[in-house]
Symmetry: C2
Subunit: 368 residues, 2 copies
């Protein structure tokens, strides 16, 4: 079914449609819920982030205990920004020690639960939090609920590819996957790349341990076969070495491998930067070199900084869920809000719907 | 059983025993077979590598077609080095396009088969090749054969940790693993760390997507439980971010995840280095800084260069199998030979035997 739909549509037609939709949506203000009580720096930095990002086109619904939030909204703050922030009262906080699903089911007045409910009820179009990732995932699945045709929402991360961002998923929402789940990830990633990044026909790659077909574990081999006949623009296996190279616009893998690969890259980039710093601190010659090179290195490092790109989100539910690092500062929170608003304006949710309608996932009861 | 044996032995006793063994072995010359016909730069660079490394304590058995090898051993070469090289005739070459296991079974006169047989027959103690990794693995399993008590030999890679090398396995020999295989990897890694790196009681970590117990996919969760009661010095889960941090001396994972993580780090380090280079080429200030910093960066980069550390090997068979990059130059080959000889002199094979005797692998028929 999915294959039949691809043929008649030319790339241009698809592109034109998208551009029109984007323009229409652009003027509409976006409302995002923000968990004022999530993360190591809550509530001060979270509220400060809201004040940095809030505007007439980005309204913020600040979720938390009013007595905790209000002092940070008073005093010497921008009256304009303040006028675009509303407070949505919650009464408790889910900590990282709580069992996520159980907490979401029982703590009806927790900030993550209230924030997720605001999306489900249409008060907001998305929810941003630096709190417990596990609780955010549980709230997304149980309260915001899955988008039609998607059984496994996935965490999307943007990798700093050599020629622009690479859409990478799943970064850790689904530790155990079946082959058809990787096809769903490819659908979500394709929708994201089309709408948010603006690629007309994103190339989809499968993270694997060799480029040849037949490589990999059982999951990768089966996923390869399914992706080949999915109707997506599947370009084959992508090795870890090529994740940042310009060989695919979207790379899919299971949430275990994805999380390990992502964190391994983070750790490696951190180690290399430290060593560059160490190298620039040894000997007069290197020290002078390091000082001269510092601004350029700082600009470059920003590309690897989650505070800057802020683009980790859960895709595949009926709203946009933006997941910030636990140690997010006001800058990271503001970037998370801006990123979320931009993705929604560009039509990422409608993009997922369109891609689900276009591609048939094998093993989907609705398709057989 | 394994637990009982650990108790009475103090760390000092173990250490003393190891030091004595190492000293005894140190004087014995090592003979390594070298595949003269494997890799992109064969035979010229391979033979040149042999000439760089061969000495009275490192004899090289050069495997290949004599008419192909001999010209490179003649002419302007060191007579001393030449005198420590013998030629072992093979008649064909397994290419990367051949199906590895089938090729090893049928091409009895191929260089990889002849080299592996020299280990099995006691002509050499190890085999070095830059040829097909798949064929090397197949030859190791089918011809050199598994070490007693080891069902899944694994590829060991040394990661450039912030406080010295981290022993990482499996880097790709076993794409599909059961939990007990990860315990075998931990045994192999512990033996390697004790003997080659010289750690008395190496800390073993499990690569996972969170530090808490209960995290990860089914394989990681089950492996965690087995490692906890293995008698090894298991320190728990290690996240990708901490692979290069000093949290474990040995990190184990399945060969799929291991290969992806390793290559992701390689790709990321390469991308960061390129960007440092680009940053140092933009603007006069940065250019001067880059030139001054260059020697320090070059020294640092060597730590991430497979040509330099040359330490990827297959452990768990009755000999040492050193796997070089397909594009290995003479320097990489010479380092691979030196690394292999050093590991053998330090008693890595006896170390594996000792660790297998000390630790009981669950699910091992011999142990139940």
């Amino acid at each position: 079914m999915g294959d039949d739909l691809v043929g008649p549509q030319s790339t241009e037609v698809t592109e034109t449609t998208e551009v029109t939709e984007t323009t229409e949506v652009k003027d509409a203000p976006v409302t995002l819920a923000l968990d004022a009580e999530g993360g190591d720096n809550a509530p001060g930095e979270i509220v400060a982030g809201a004040l940095l990002a809030a505007s007439s086109s980005l309204r913020v619904l600040l979720v938390g205990r009013p007595q905790v939030i209000e002092p940070h909204l008073a005093g010497d703050v921008s009256a304009t920004a303040r006028s675009h922030i509303s407070v949505l009262a919650s009464a408790s906080v889910i900590s990282s020690h709580d069992e996520p699903a159980a907490a979401v089911k029982t703590m009806h007045d927790a900030s993550i639960v209230v924030g997720a409910r605001s999306v489900a009820d249409g008060l907001s179009q998305g929810f941003v939090s630096a709190g417990s990732t596990g609780a955010m995932l549980a709230a997304a699945l149980l309260i915001v609920r899955r988008a039609g045709g998607i059984r496994r929402p996935a965490i999307v991360t943007l990798l700093p590819g050599v020629r622009g961002p690479v859409v990478f998923l799943d970064s850790g929402a689904n530790a155990e996957c079946r082959p058809e789940h990787l096809v769903e990830f490819a659908i979500l990633g394709t929708a994201y790349s089309r709408t948010v990044i603006g690629k007309a026909g994103p190339r989809v790659g499968l993270l694997n341990i060799g480029v040849e077909e037949g490589k990999g574990n059982e999951l990768a081999q089966a996923a390869h076969r399914l992706l080949e006949r999915s109707g997506l623009n599947f370009v084959g296996n992508v090795e870890g070495t090529d994740l940042l190279a310009d060989v695919a616009d979207v790379v899919v893998t299971d949430g275990f491998t994805g999380n390990v690969a992502l964190k391994a890259m983070e750790g490696c980039a951190g180690a290399v930067f430290s060593r560059v710093r160490d190298a620039a601190g040894t000997g007069v010659r290197s020290k002078v070199g390091g000082i001269l090179l510092r601004p350029a290195l700082r600009r470059m490092r920003a590309g690897y900084d989650p505070e800057e790109y802020g683009g980790t989100c859960l895709l595949g539910v009926r709203g946009l869920i933006v997941i910030c690092h636990g140690n997010a500062t006001r800058k990271a929170i503001a970037n998370g809000l801006r990123f979320g608003a931009e993705a929604l304006r560009k039509g990422v949710l409608a993009g997922v719907e369109a891609e689900v309608a276009r591609i048939t996932v094998p093993g989907d009861p609705a398709a057989s």
